[in-house]
Amino acid sequence: MDAAPTLDRIFRAEAARLTASLVAIVRDWDLAEELVQDAMVVALETWPRAGLPDNPAAWLLTTARRRAIDRLRRDNVGRAKAAELARLVDDIEPTAHVTDERLRLLFVCCHPALRPESQIALTLKAVAGLTAAEISRALLVPEATIAQRLVRAKKKIREAGIPFRLPAADELAARLDQVLAVVYLIFNEGYLTSRGDAPQRPDLASEAEWLGSMLLELLPDEPEVRSLVALMRLHLARASSRFDGEEIVLLEDQDRAAWDRDAIAGAVELLTSVTRSGPYHLQARIAAAHATAPSFHATPWGDIVNLYDELYLRSPTPVVALNRAIAIAYDENVEQGLRALEPLDDALASYGPYHAARGELLRRAGRIDEAIDASSRALELATNAAERRLLERRIEETRREHGHLGNDRGRTSRAR
């Protein structure tokens, strides 16, 4: 039997449950991880000979707990814990309560007393089961920095007394928001990376979708959990058409036939039962409006503007206002869109996508010099090689158009 890939798959899926269940007992993160590693090594030795156990998860958990007992018996401090563990080894229900422990672990990783960058690294490590090297590649942060963040976060959890339990009922909503924010940050970092040369890192986006699906399994009735999962699935459903090789393809030019219709239908279905409109629900409905439109020109821009209005009431950020302005430009006209952009000039002065959107609207309004200035500013601010190439192409096209306009002033609209 070729056990290695099987084990790898099982281990990835079970690592978080195992770690969570051990951490809850031994209260030492590093020790818990070590025990999980040990159990995997034992499995790697045993399974190819003896065959895959009926319940690999329970087998790993039992092995890890036995190792924990051995380890704790060796030092006097651990005697009481060892006795507690010994009782638990005989009493294993691998699914029900372990599931809760995984959720608990996610809340610990996203505890507000940890720095946001540590929350992300710890979630990827402890819940998604990525190694420090994989996190380093995914986040484009040196491995030593990731390792340091993980060490500091675990030290803070241990020494500051961050508890391994679900937040109290009155704290749950706020803490869940934080967990969802971390998952969505991971997703966005993968969906359109903010640094480096690779235009997107789909692995990170699918990690986030996996984390979201796990949350959905654990909290199936939370509207914002459903909505965030739907939002991520709607984005992923059209991920393959967003790039042509290394080049960004804008929504308008994407091949809608390549979109995953089943995934879109599933996500829309997930949204239909949500009645309370939170920020993720509104964003998911906007994504659904795009994903279900038969063509770019048939996009229900009026609905999208209304959704952005509602979203802006809940989270009045300049970025939401920017997206609203773009929708207005399509729903009404370019001038209205530009007018809606004006008040954002200060707040988004150093935000590349603002200048990119403004450049595009100015170009469509025929204000060529201003369009080139805005796109050039966007190019200066772009942090991703694919975005830079897109902007360079656009500036080049605008210049060509300008030359064309010089010869034929009668033509202002572009054939597309």
Binding site: H111, A113, E159, A160, G161, I162, P163, P167, A168, E171
Partner: protein, 114 residues
């Protein structure tokens, strides 16, 4: 676990208050502390006088140098502290959130467990 709660405030803003206002705020904090003490959680603490009264001793090449002022000069100064037992950080955070003066920041630090 035992935590030190440090209460920081804007020194100038505090000094601009009338004596009556200061006393009414002190009374609120006193009631809050008594609530915790009633549950046997408090192990010392108190309000400090202004940063202008602080003296710092630093050692330069093992020679002690005595200077006027606190460790760090800033607008926000340490106004007081309390040693309080709480089950874990979440319990300590919940306590800190119930501190009655919203113009004070509360820093929660666990005491080193020996």
């Amino acid at each position: 676990m035992r935590y030190m709660f440090s209460f920081a405030r804007d020194d100038a803003a505090w000094e601009s208050l009338s004596d009556e206002e200061k006393d009414s705020r002190r009374a609120k904090v006193g009631a809050w502390i008594m609530e915790q003490a009633a549950q046997g959680r408090v192990h010392g603490g108190g309000e400090l006088t202004g940063a202008a009264t602080a003296t710092t001793v630093r050692f330069e090449r093992t020679k002690p140098i005595v200077m006027d002022g606190p460790f760090i000069e800033s607008r926000e100064i340490l106004a007081g502290f309390a040693l309080i037992d709480a089950d874990d950080l979440d319990a300590a955070i919940a306590l800190a959130k119930s501190f009655p003066l919203d113009d004070h920041a509360v820093e929660i630090r666990p005491m080193l467990q020996m």
